[in-house]
Symmetry: C3
């Protein structure tokens, strides 16, 4: 695959500073790039490599005077990187349209056109797989589950019975969609399991990370909205709903029945209690412990989570606590002395 810089500038809607005819044959990181590679500077930390990189061209966010290599200046380097990588790597694997002879596909399952099913995958009764979808080796699709078109289901994923995935959904290895919700009723000293007869609905264009667990609802559905992206090892409890285009970073935990709005960002390892609402566009900081609802657009952090601005001030003040204790002790002494003196004068 060969593309010249002029074509890349056009594709990325960037401004080329340099020779449009330079041929690009690959994409590489700024430290590893060599002749023929295009690279990018996405984080200021890497700017110092500008003069040492072996790349033939560099995607940057703003013009750099006297750059030693051709530049393509774009508004968003990461978006340009995505566009260029799609040219060289494709945006997803090509389905082969082959059902491996070792796959166990129920006769009552329905497969769309050009579906690929890998070795030792198991597709149970009544399941349906949309066209062009790739079911990797060693995937389990339960009874009556429905997977849309153009999905990529990576190896060792479990899609439990009755679960619905939309189109262009990507599920990474070891994700479990539709495990039983964690619901028990107290019965004397013991815990009686509440059968979880609901399901999970994952809408179009959702990505589900490796090792993610999304529990099925007790009744009704746990729902992940269109375009939402979920990183690895996230736990989503039963009856949770997540709106469209949200971002859930690794190791976040969302307890049962909580409602997450649209375009919400939940940073890594944040935890949310059950039965609360996080409004559209809200941002929850890394490791935050969210114990009550968050208003739309609000940014919260810390434990228990509060307005990020207030929490930052509090955490900054905390560092002065040992000093503050000393100052208060000193104040008490000084005031005591003044009081005695004053008492003495009055006496």
């Amino acid at each position: 695959m060969k593309v010249n810089l002029g074509e890349i500038a056009q594709l990325t809607e960037g401004t080329l500073i340099g020779d449009a005819s330079v041929q690009i044959t690959g994409v590489a990181g700024i430290e590893d790039a060599g002749e023929g590679d295009i690279t990018f500077i996405g984080h200021p930390r890497y700017a110092s490599f500008l003069h040492t990189t072996g790349a033939s061209a560099i995607i940057v966010a703003r013009e750099i005077p006297d750059a030693p290599k051709p530049l393509i200046v774009v508004a968003q380097p990461y978006l340009a990187l995505a566009q260029v990588l799609e040219v060289f790597a494709g945006s997803r694997p090509e389905p082969k349209g082959v059902v491996d002879s070792t796959a166990v596909v129920s006769q009552s399952a329905t497969l769309g056109a050009d579906v690929s099913v890998g070795a030792y995958a198991v597709i149970e009764d009544g399941a349906s797989i949309g066209s062009n979808t790739i079911i990797s080796p060693l995937v389990y699709v339960g009874r009556g589950a429905s997977i849309g078109d153009d999905c990529v289901i990576h190896p060792m994923t479990v899609v439990r019975e009755g679960v619905t995935l939309g189109d262009r959904v990507i599920v990474h290895a070891h994700a479990v969609i539709g495990s039983d919700g964690f619901g028990y009723a107290q019965e004397g000293q013991s815990h009686r399991r509440i059968p979880q007869i609901g399901t999970v609905i994952v809408e179009d264009d959702v990505d589900v990370g490796a090792g993610v667990t999304i529990d099925r609802a007790t009744l009704g559905a746990t729902r992940i909205g269109r375009g939402t992206k979920i990183d690895n090892l996230v736990q989503i409890g039963h009856n949770v709903t997540v709106g469209e285009e949200s971002i859930i970073v690794a190791q976040v935990g969302i307890s049962g029945s909580t409602e997450i709005g649209k375009r919400v960002i939940l940073a890594g390892q944040a935890g949310l209690v059950g039965h609360i609402k996080v409004g559209d566009g809200a941002v929850v900081g890394a490791q935050a412990g969210v114990t009550k609802s968050v208003a739309p657009g609000e940014v919260v952090s810390g434990y228990p989570a509060r307005s990020h601005q207030a929490a930052s001030r509090v955490y900054a003040c905390m560092q002065h606590l040992p000093d503050l204790l000393k100052r208060v002790k000193r104040l008490e002494q000084r005031l005591g002395e003044l009081e005695s003196e004053h008492q003495g004068e009055k006496g």
Copy 2:
């Protein structure tokens, strides 16, 4: 399946307010329920749906005057829900009693009556599976492992060699029981692996969530007590013991050799260091960092975890820290002024 309200009231030991002959054909959430469904109000947040639900009857915790629908008033709505769902959905899947022709079952493994083994499951030498147990497709049962009666082992579970599960144990997808404990001896700059020759014993009626990891003991056994319920993505280190009827919520981590008592609750994302004891009936709050033993019945939270009451006061006070710093500064100024004046008067 049809049951009338009178029968449901009897089953749940509830008080029926309404017509006992109303036929119920299903169970649904209050927002989704339609004609023939029974629903429930388990959380006050849903009380407002009482007047809009399409359900034919509602399970509630206390009588509601002028309710538009028949009510069944019970002491514990979640327990009643469990009872009703068991009628309509069963409490666990029915075993088919069929060993799939593609399952690899060692000739030296022993299978009880009516055991089901799914496609591509692998059961190694000397393993034993109790009667009525369901081994789902793509499950791995190691050499000499023992699984009791009436268990449900979901797809892609790994039960490593020598591990013992009791009766009526449920293991959700992608759980790993019996992985090697994380034990190394320092040897110069490097880490020498300590062979982990112990095992894991999971007693009767334990539920193990999706993606849970329970490590085998270095020597002896990691043990999960009868009736304990473990949510998704929990990590249980080597030689940990958990007592009976405890609840371990998602993403909790328990370090090696720690002892958890009976009827303990560990809330989501809590972390416990190794070699401590958590007494019977103790409660550890969400995200708490437990660094020392917890007395029986104690409720702890925060980082490092302390008495929940004290910790709540501390976290509440923390919000006043920026203000407190200002007040102390002002006190210092005022006291300084008073001291100078006083000094001036004396001088």
Copy 3:
């Protein structure tokens, strides 16, 4: 297997206090050990069992006067335990050198001498497996992946395409190595996936815990250095590099492009933001939230992570906050009174 105490003392470079001819036939924990077993005291908590254990000999860190059993006194009991366990249990399973007839091994894959491949394992085109390596049942090895010599790959591991593992690597069940990095470019309201064309390189002697997820790099490689040990359910983001001989405890999360040095310890549930550096020999406390780079040798803890010494002082002071608030209030009152009196006197 029988070894006498004299031989064990020699093997562990310990000092034997007792009869060298005592025969040892096994290793057990101090509470479970019986006749013929050797046990050890690795944690002071277990010293009280010295007089009740049924063991025939005990490995200890220092001489105990009047011990009722023969002692082997060693500098590091855990190291001695590792050495003794290797004698009785071996340091890793013996490869059988058999490729199961149900394994799907691509014709273009290359297998070294004495490789074992378990039932229903899938090895894709161009993959290579080094000699004596054990591929357990139900393992997936992607296209072009390379696994070194003497590795143990436990059941249901996913090694994605192009990933490289060195020699003597152990990968526990359900680990995923090479899942796509979590990289998206904002495009209007939606998130455009950045193809992740990099890889993962795991060097020699690394252990990867159960359920661990290690994402492949966007470009270049995510790299785990020689001898590093990773506990269960750890998340390692794309383009992270970890140096040699580091220890990463369970449920740690490391965000993209962060660099961890050599001999670093990251304690359980710690979280690290992206694009920072943790210097050689640094230690990050359990549950710490690391938001900026950590200097070599530094010990940090808390949220946001700071010097452990400073953080401990702060957390200790925090417990006095409710009292401090009262003291400041009292100071304000007393000072106010003094000021009025003083004003009165002047007036």
